[in-house]
Amino acid sequence: MIIAYIVISFLIGVALFVNRNRIINYSLVSLFSVLQWVFILYLYHHRGQDATGYFNADSLAILMLITSGIIIPPAFYYSYIYFKIKKDQPRERGMYFSAMVVLAAAISAAYLANHIALMWVFVELTTLSAAALVYHRRNVRSLEGTWKYFFVSSISITLVFIGILFLTIALQQEGFTDLTYPALKKNASSLNGFWLRLTFIFIFTGYTAKMGLVPMHTVGIDAKDKAPSPAGALFSSIVMNMGFVGIFRVYEIISRTPLKEWADTILLVSAVLSIFVAAVYMMSVKNMKRMFAYSSIEHMGIAMLGIAAGGIGYYAALLHLVLHAITKSSLFFQMGQVYRIYNSKSLYDTGNYLKYNLTGAMVILLAFICGTAMPPSGLFVTEFMIFRSLFESHHFIFLAVILLLLTMIIWAFGKSIFRLLFTPAAGFNEAGMGKINPFESVPQLILLGAVIYLGINPPVQLVELINESVKYISY
């Protein structure tokens, strides 16, 4: 089933690439969304059955797949609006949708991969398709963004490969050759600590490029800035979750060995540094998309804190990732509308958004409340649980530092958002302003409503999935 899904998705990608007809294009894209959901539902009902093959639909994969299933259809919808207004070349449109479908399929496959090298291959594939999306506008700046994204991603993917090689050394010492995750988890405790440490450091550093944590966090910023908004939404949600899955699976391997505490320290330091970097840049950055990108870095740091602290933190971290993905993607979708009104992403050129686009302004306000984790947002619940787990694991100093940094972030974020909403824009000519249909914002409002609802009243199935995902490490 999984292989069939991948093959069909790639066929759809190829068809989109070759085809020039708009109607066929959009029906193929809709077909892919439907396929995605059929696939997810099928896997949900058959999860965890095939633990030995190359793919395994375990709970973590299903959880992340459902998140991507929620985000991808609106991403297609906003891409459709984007092209309707921009009137692009059919060739570029085909390439864009093709890259997006391949990206989504590769991410799904990476979630599901049961073999450490196979996951690596699919992560590499996402780099390629994401680079195509970043390069969509074909000007000097998007070229620069693409270059940086591709180059740093390639280096980080090489680091992951080196990590896998070290893991192989450790395995060969003990006479194992099986590189599937269940086998690795089973054999982890007998492996040499030195090689495991190197493995963890290299794979962690490599995947931080995808996830957006400190050593390689710069990769995503330019990409999210330069890609069209719907693609930026995918980069700051499901791609980041994919990086998390990569790190989490290695963490699972290491969590039953004596190295767990050491790994926790690394995660903790990286997480705190990420939040620090995000705070520093959010104070100064004037480009809103980049600000949202830094905010994503902050949230990834918070999720990592939950993993590092343990206890209730595991559950909270996963829920946090899901909710953050939904929040941030709706914020990026809304950015597309903001850009259509002002033709600029800079805070200097924008203002009085409430007056020009009421529903959009409500989305921004709601997303701000959700994104800074104020009640009633679901992120408030998860952040609260993560802080509790930090408190319970006696990381008081870190907790104090993080609370201080978060206050700074809320202030910086709020200052910019309120400036966008209420201050009059300098030198803005209302006459040439684009009109926005209020109904365009409805999917964003639904997504944000889901964030609030899922945080306050998570359905049983969701709780069950998350608990199953962290079952192995929270024994």
Binding site: E124, G145, K148, I162
Partner: protein, 209 residues
Amino acid sequence: MTDILLIIFAITLVFMSIANRLGTYVNILFLQGLLLFGISFIELKEINTLNLAFILLETVIFKTIAVPFFMRYVIKRNKITREAEPYLPNFVSLVIVTSIIILTYLLSKTIQDPLLNKIYFVVALSALFTGLYIIMTRRKVITHVMGYLVIENGVFILSIAVGSEIPMLINTGILLDLFVSIFLLGIFINKIGDVLKDVDVGQLKQLKD
């Protein structure tokens, strides 16, 4: 014999750190390709012929002939100035690369592993960090790609050390190498050359905060 080749490989890293001209970098990459060919030929004799042929072709045709040739072509076509333009003086680079080699050696001293041939480990990690160092301290886009190729060579050495029992891993690594290098060199540098006047990272500095 492979030990000697590996030591010579490490020496090429030292000379790369003080190379002033892009031509020297290309020559060093050519030499590294030859060394890798020798190493893989001696080390991997046992694995099946088809696989061996693939690996040897990759090292000879791709690493030794195609990449240096194409580098020269790109340098000439885009009229890149011949100096490498490092941010740091070469003397500092030399000291740093030497200490990288010493540090990886010291790191390897902490391993207790009778199966692993440690010189592979030392040379591969040195190549990795030297490549990263070159990327960080050189100004031009093309030197960044060269740094990346050095990293790839290091990964290749490591995968030979590890993968003689799991050829699948070597092949995966090689495919990554081919794929990324072709993509970086073929599509990107040429594109950048079309869009920008000079292939210099200086022009790729507009995105910042």
